[in-house]
């Protein structure tokens, strides 16, 4: 289950920019049980999480809705105070020194905007410059780079309310990077975007990553974001880390499966091919499940040799399925 060792000492391990040690966040939830009575119930949104992220690393932080991702990010920005454990970002305790930390981090919430709704994009950037006291020359250079890489040129004079979701998201990402943050939190930066906008955002983030100066924590439901940007992925479920390692490891641990969908010339009984099991039959179409780590080629060859194959496609495992399986394994331990 990845790194579980806890490194101690206030000096830390030198290059860890983000360090969580046994962090918990407990919310009280009240439920009405009668006319005036209510019952208090504790919800452990984050339940003992420890991890470190080194300088310049880009780490995926994934999990189903309500797993505790946003709660973690809020504790990392200092908006929420942890109920237990310790959090350090760039050596700072976020909830104690939220404003001091704010100068050194950037945050992008896919579902929210930091931009001034009624005013041109440029005004929001000018505000960022003043807010973070960015030197004019450095601001100029950063803005030029973002405008260039994110195609913001024609949008600078447009009021934010007139931007499309994809344009607005690019605008938000630029706003989060103009002050050269050491740490960048991206909370679902590609949510709701079309394929082209997603590609643009990923390409830009890949450039940020290549520059190597920024530590990135990326939350997403889109496995492609993780595949293209992160060597390391952490999976959280029910407030606990259930995986911390590389993506291949995630598939292995999650025993994830791909599905080969085949169309035959006619209706057939469920086919029987080695290395796969038929999970569904619907008329001439059948679904064959096989391990994600295995190659599809021999399986396709086998099916084509033995049956009247008309068409086929391969479905990749959905991240939610992988996570669901991961959690299912944990529960059965």
């Amino acid at each position: 289950m990845g790194r579980t060792e806890v490194r101690d000492g206030t000096g830390g391990t030198g290059d860890a920019v983000i360090r969580l040690d046994g962090v918990c966040k407990v919310f009280d939830v009240y439920r009405r049980t009668g006319l005036l009575r209510r019952e208090r119930r504790e919800v452990r949104a984050v339940d003992g999480i420890s991890f470190e992220v080194a300088r310049g690393e880009t780490v995926g932080y994934i999990g189903p809705n309500g797993a505790g991702k946003s709660t973690t990010i809020k504790m990392l920005t200092g908006i929420l105070v942890p109920s237990g454990g310790s959090v350090r970002v760039a050596g700072i305790d976020p909830s104690r020194e939220r404003t001091r930390l704010a100068r050194r981090i950037g945050v992008v919430f896919g579902q929210r905007t930091t931009l001034w709704w009624d005013l041109p994009l440029r005004d929001s950037y000018d505000l960022v410059r003043r807010m973070y006291r960015v030197e004019p020359a450095r601001f100029r250079a950063n803005l030029d780079r973002c405008v260039d890489l994110l195609d913001l040129g024609p949008l600078l004079e447009v009021p934010v309310r007139q931007l499309s979701l994809g344009q607005r998201m690019r605008g938000d990402i630029a706003a989060a990077l103009l002050h050269d943050p050491e740490v960048l939190y991206l909370d679902e930066p590609t949510i709701g975007l079309d394929v082209i906008s997603k590609a643009k955002v990923r390409q830009f983030l890949a450039e940020v990553k290549a520059a190597g100066a920024t530590t990135v924590l990326l939350t997403t439901h889109d496995l492609t974001d993780i595949e293209q940007l992160c060597e390391r992925v952490m999976v959280i479920d029910h407030g606990r880390l259930v995986h911390d390692g590389d993506l291949a490891g995630l598939h292995a641990v999650g025993a994830s499966e791909r599905v080969l969908v085949v169309d035959f010339a006619r209706e057939l009984p469920a086919v029987d091919v080695p290395g796969a099991r038929t999970v569904r039959v619907e008329g001439p179409r059948q679904w064959l499940s096989f391990p994600a780590s295995a190659s599809a080629a021999p399986l396709v060859a086998e099916v084509a040799a033995r049956y009247p194959l008309v068409d086929l496609s391969v479905r990749e495992p959905a991240i939610e399925e992988v996570i669901a399986r991961l959690y299912g394994d944990r529960a059965s331990l």
């Binding site: 929420l80 930091t114 001034w116």
Partner: protein
């Protein structure tokens, strides 16, 4: 300071964007101003020198009320609705991770809004009024200056109250009821319904010392030269400044409790 200046300027420009809305607002001001002016005239004909004002001063008071209606947010409509909405939806999280003080940010936004509205919704209705009614204008530039300071302090007091009201949303999650209550109180205790000098006894005394009198009654008294000489004017301004300090302080306190204790909504 540069940040807050930029936020203020942004607040100004945000409101300046909606010109048609401003013109529609001025029209509403003019209609309401006329209805109230004729009502006051009828009242003052029956009871001359009611509250110590002559008829011209009473009519001027009406139009000052219209001019300051949106500026000092006598019926609400400043930043509080937006802030409550941001607390409810969780967008306030974005305000909280900026390296800027939350109260300072919203004060600057509200001052920017007021700066626009004193021009857009203040000067224009007064100009309309000047064409239709004889008005009691200040006698010297110094009085104008004192009036502007009184309006500025009125905006700060108004903001400080509305900020407190908005922060309640951190606990109630829906601030609509509190806002309605707060607006009703502001409408009456600012002097928008009738000048506070008209009310007798304990109610009148209470109304004059409550913070809301800083929103309209005090600026109007300064404008109409009824504050009683330089010392009187300075006294009124000090009254406003004191309320501003107390209420902003209360806002800071409530803000630190809210941000430490309360959950920011939404994922």
């Amino acid at each position: 300071m540069g940040v807050y200046r930029a936020v203020l300027a942004g607040g100004f420009r945000r409101y300046a964007t909606y010109r048609v809305a401003t013109l529609a607002g001025v029209f509403t001001n003019a209609v309401f101003g006329m209805i109230m002016a004729y009502t006051y005239i009828a009242l003052w004909r029956v009871r001359p020198h009611l509250g110590g004002y002559d008829e011209t001063q009473a009519v001027t008071f009406v139009w000052l009320g219209q001019a300051l209606l949106t500026t000092t947010a006598l019926m609400g409509g400043g930043c509080e609705t937006e802030l409550i909405n941001r607390i409810r939806t969780g967008d306030v999280a974005i305000d909280l991770y900026r390296p800027v003080d939350l109260q300072g940010w919203w004060l600057a936004t509200d001052l920017g809004r007021a700066a626009f509205q004193v021009v857009g919704r203040g000067v224009l209705p007064m100009a309309v009024a000047a064409l239709l009614f004889p008005l009691a204008w200040p006698s010297s530039p110094l009085v104008w200056l004192a009036f502007l300071v009184a309006v500025a302090l009125g905006v700060v007091v108004s903001f400080a109250v509305r900020y407190l009201v908005a922060l309640v949303a951190f606990w109630l999650l829906d601030g609509a009821g509190v806002v309605i209550l707060s607006n009703l109180v502001a409408l009456f205790f600012s002097g928008m319904v009738l000048p506070l000098t008209v009310f007798p006894g304990a109610l009148g005394t209470a109304a004059r010392v409550l913070p809301w009198s800083a929103l309209l009654q005090v600026p109007a008294d300064v404008f109409l030269g009824r504050a009683g000489g330089a010392a009187g004017v300075l006294g009124r301004l000090a009254f406003q400044a004191a309320w501003a300090a107390v209420l902003l302080g209360a806002g800071r306190l409530m803000q630190s409790v809210a941000t430490r204790k309360v959950v920011v909504q939404g994922g």
